[in-house]
Symmetry: C2
Subunit: 295 residues, 2 copies
């Protein structure tokens, strides 16, 4: 097993991502010598105890972070401000505080002000997940071959960034450094908007009268099904993502809605060449994804 | 091999669907004793000859339908009116004319007036496909376990409908009879709108400035990729589907755009419970698909 960059990792919140990292720490090593976890609900804490995937489960975030040299926020991003306020007084000297939230501007806004001078804040986002959620859904290989993005604010301690990068590399990920604003814009279009669309079209279908709704379920394989797969993800997490990447998401949603309106107009007026151009662009993007081995 | 309902099947156009049915006729039987095909382009006809998947390739639709007791239109639906005009004088007595188009109202509108009294018109739509197109992409098992929908106009000869149903059942499909208007409405939401959205969002992403576009390709796995898969389908076919299911598609696109606007408004004003309700509906639909084994 590779040397671990941290002695003790405290996971604040432990769902799909936290429990996968805990499993990777045990099975692959190179993450932390010891893993402590806490969760908001007693039921989740009991599940994690029963699963035996961490060394210790604490009832409070304050108790979990005591003595930890790495603290990782793995709860929905809407809870980060409260968690940061609760743990800040208990962070050890030179502790590295990081997170796995899908929005980075909001995390810097909500957590940054609480970080004491003697600790280091390295915001992060592992680009990994499945449509399942909760600590039982995790697995040790979740991060293999996936990107992990770090968005350290200017002036962040370089040794702290390097240690978090080592953690993710040892979990199997490719580490990228990005500006938080660029991260939020890119993920607004590659992830947040597709999820918003998927949830929306499920609602549109659900509003049809009964006979059509039954037929929608029966014939879903024709394309609709692909949209429902991404609509199966964790509700609380996605609610928080949408609300915490508001500006970038609304900008991309606005652009998309304009483009949908233009496309609908082309359908209405029979503008075949406009439609062909859009279809050709879709295929070109698909081809480039295949070339980049991302499809 | 089961008895075939037809003696000679003429495929007018032979891409993914036509070539899969030709292969099923040879490999599974129960389709037609003999399969003749034609295609608009000489290159496609040469490919089909080389593949050896039909008994005979004719250069014109008129020659292909001569003596056939079943004629199946497998070209993009926008070409159906011209094809119907070209083949009508050559249809054999009691020939069954059917099709595989994704829109049914337009096919009845475009083909119906040309069908001579001595032939029978049974519009159809096999719900099967992949993101690949062309005669080389076909395979004999494409229709297994998939629905095949027939939308015969009132008064259609029942024996003709039964023979087309037998053909699709022997190809492995479950046959359903639907009203053409209901078909077009249901497929507007389960298939045509998802494809329209997928092509549109690819265009939205493609319009970003270069740095973000590169990042979109790199991080596509976060949800965007699922949209590009369905955006890889045949351009000419989809252009024709959009233009030939105009009313139903525009109605569904309008409903969806209203729902997107409402969702964006909820994000803007921080209406968490509205967002949670939409996410819950998406998950409920996903769960019902899994129960129905359609997910």
């Amino acid at each position: 097993m590779p040397d671990a960059p941290f002695r003790r990792l405290a996971l604040i919140g432990i769902g799909l991502i936290g429990s996968s990292l805990a499993r990777a720490a045990k099975e692959k090593g190179g993450i932390a010598d010891e893993v402590v976890a806490t969760a908001r609900s007693a039921a989740t804490r009991d599940t994690v105890r029963r699963l035996g995937i961490v060394d210790r489960v604490e009832d409070t975030a304050a108790a979990a972070v005591a003595g930890a040299d790495c603290v990782m926020l793995c709860a929905p991003v809407g809870a980060f401000a409260d968690i940061a306020a609760a743990i800040a007084p208990h962070l050890a000297r030179d502790a590295v505080l990081t997170d796995v939230g899908s929005t980075k501007g909001s995390v810097i806004r909500d957590v940054g002000p609480y970080v004491p001078d003697h600790a280091h804040f390295v915001p992060g986002h592992p680009i990994a997940g499945t449509e399942h959620s909760g600590p039982e859904a995790g697995f040790a290989t979740l991060f293999e071959g996936r990107y992990a993005i770090l968005t350290p604010p200017p002036g962040t301690d370089e040794a702290a960034v390097a240690k978090v990068a080592t953690l993710w590399r040892n979990a199997g990920s490719m580490v990228e450094i990005m500006e938080p604003q660029h991260h939020d814009k890119v993920f607004a279009i590659v992830s947040h908007l597709p999820h918003l669309i998927a949830f929306t079209i499920c609602g549109t279908a659900d509003d049809l009268e009964e006979e059509s709704r039954q037929a929608v379920l029966r014939f879903a394989a024709s394309g609709f099904r692909d949209f429902t797969r991404i609509a199966a993800s964790d509700p609380e997490m996605w609610r928080d993502v949408f609300l915490n990447n508001r500006e970038a998401l609304l900008e991309m949603a606005q652009r998309f809605t304009e483009d949908m309106t233009a496309m609908a107009r082309a359908v209405r007026w029979g503008d075949a060449s406009y439609i062909e151009d859009k279809i050709a662009r879709g295929r070109r993007i698909r081809r480039r994804l295949i070339e980049l081995r991302q499809a």
